[in-house]
Symmetry: C4
């Protein structure tokens, strides 16, 4: 029987590294980091022509593989209703982040995208009042140019664009896409008073780059509050 | 044999989601969040006509299902002594929060209520010297109007009333009820220099709304200390 | 065979609540709280005429029951060399805190004493420059008068004496005893630039009171740094 | 069959304390401490003539024993290409920290070296603008003179040299060695805007001294920000 016959096969695997197993595990670890409390945030994983996404509005540390949505990539039509390969049996809503994750796939060929409500990210958007977070001379080299390219250097100035938040997450799609085009080297997009989107070639790189960026938001906020300049380059 | 014959049956279940199993698990996770250290705080769950409550003055991360009190809802008489369906065999005291949890059931038809001594909540009551904590333009949409209604919006100003603490927790019942009536949309009540009460339709919503409010207290305190305005609305 | 015949029987038990099993478990949880990093701090438990103490200078999160020292209480003579009922086979040193734990047993009839290097305690000793840490109108009621008496009230002012540190932990014995006598109601003793000693009737009360005091040191430090008065009483 | 015949034997052991098992466990615990997020940092262990090192650029909390590199100590020639006893089968890169770990072995006869990107270490290098971090009258006695000697005293002033960072970690080798020679008593070397290297006679001492130093960086930064002098000695 193929997965088309029984869509639940798409999320059943004994492999710990299968996306349907990874997403619950990673969401639980993000919860412990304070990135996805109160049902916010999450991670999606794309493997070739399939995208795995956690549901909306659930406790992220209690997701089960059976809760995962699976979508075809690309979607048959950007203008038609969203198409799914598999929907969970429970009354679960699809993630409002879906269009934003799609930005990372379409504009950066990403294989995974992480969204956090980390307080470090939010504080960074409050203390950097313009439309770009900037920091230099910190451990920036874990971050990749445009998120999927080669590694940045200690001597580079990291720039993460900041877009303004909207009441509905879906409405961020266009401004996020614009920011990604205006900042082709950016490895993520901050959303003012909300959080951050970070992507990578695969789930490992999306996760480790989120850790790197969150680390830089945290140290940047501490530096700013302590009166230490955050950019040394002219 | 019915539960009336052997009240211990009320707290014995192999279902992880049975209230008598959930309360110990949730209290342990609240302990790791710093919400219920030093025996303070906790959670109660109501399922229809039964209320499950953890005992008072015990280590919240070490509660066992056998420690849980079960009460009928509603109580036969508000003026008579409290009636129990099941009391633990050990010398455990009933929770002093019981009358406050009852406020959430009676005034909001809540199915669960969480009480924390979170330092974020306490700091919020110290830095907001009036009788209401206010914040806007943050991730407010995980919170529900009146705690059990529809979701708030990013553009709303969240308001959580602050009542003054009393030496005996039971004595907060009336002022908490008054605050709930004066603020019919409030999803929780802060107690100055003490903590917060938050409720929801069920344990999942009570827990996730507590996470959302605690997140907002934390970011609000950080903003206030950094000199960032916490309310943008006119 | 009695324990006298084979002293290792004193630390072998299948009971999770046996002191030789509890001490490793509690030390591991204290490590996660940041109280005993770098081999410092610990807990001792007295059950009637036996005292169980973790060794000195070891990783507190990796203690095994076989590492525990057992001493008779009281000691045959305060002036003679210390007597042991059981010493671990490994080359482990006895705890330098032993004389300080003994203060808690002798002066307060405690059944357990906790010692932490918590940064909250150390910061409290730096921001309260006198010889007493004071706070009022906080969640003080988890603390007991003199550590082993009845519960304090929300309206009480908590006072924890602060003694000056010495290079050798043993040398704190006399000044700690003096502080305990001068402050007969004190539930613990802070050591400037070092940490805190807290005791209770048994391990549960010693642990929960340490949590309460650490919580009060933390909120007190935050209040002081935010310019909020820490004592409201005249 | 000897390990020379099948190098994988070098990392296969049922002993929890074998370096190939310890490194994954310790890295996972360092991850939880925030020391090695975003693939940075790590620990190496030397047992006599063998050095065990985790790979570069991987998630430190997910290392497996099979990922470990094993090198001979000393290396046949400091000028020739690096020689390995065992390389992992996967496409893993050797650690860029290798030459820095070698400093600890060669200049201090260390048995283990830890590298963290701890924010406490980085903040210390930002708030101590000179080339030495200094603190006195804190819990310094867990640190050993030169990292492998006798314990420091509470009355000593701890000095940790700070070197300037370079884009490539390998390029720190000479300046780290110079700092170690200029500060023969130093138990670690801070790298400005990057992190810290700490060593010890064995993995336990390297780890516990890293904990002690990180504790001192953390309290030192807090003291500095609160306006409390960090050195009392004349």
């Amino acid at each position: 029987m193929s997965a088309n016959d029984n869509p639940d096969q798409l999320v059943l695997s004994s492999d710990n590294l299968h996306p349907a197993n990874l997403i619950p595990e990673l969401c639980a670890s993000f919860y412990r980091l304070g990135w996805v409390t109160g049902t916010g945030g999450g991670i999606c994983i794309r493997t070739g022509d399939k995208v795995y996404i956690a549901p909306s509005g659930v406790q992220k540390e209690r997701i089960q593989p059976s809760h995962i949505f699976v979508l075809p990539y690309p979607q048959p039509s950007p203008h038609a209703d969203r198409v799914f390969l598999r929907r969970p049996a429970l009354e679960l809503k699809e993630s409002a982040c879906t269009p934003l994750f799609w930005n990372a796939f379409e504009l950066r060929d990403a294989g995974s995208c992480v969204h956090t409500h980390s307080q470090n990210a939010v504080m960074a958007t409050l203390l950097w009042s313009g439309d770009v977070f900037r920091i230099s001379h910190q451990m920036i080299k874990g971050v990749r140019i445009s998120g999927t390219g080669s590694a940045l250097s200690y001597l580079d100035t990291l720039e993460v664009p900041i877009i303004e938040n909207t009441p509905n997450e879906e409405d961020l799609k266009d401004s996020m896409a614009e920011a990604m085009k205006a900042h082709p080297n950016a490895a993520g997009v901050l959303v003012r008073r909300h959080g951050v989107y970070v992507w990578g070639k695969d789930w490992e790189k999306a996760k480790t780059q989120t850790e790197c960026l969150d680390y830089l938001f945290e140290i940047g906020v501490k530096m700013k509050l302590a009166g230490v300049p955050t950019v040394l380059n002219a």
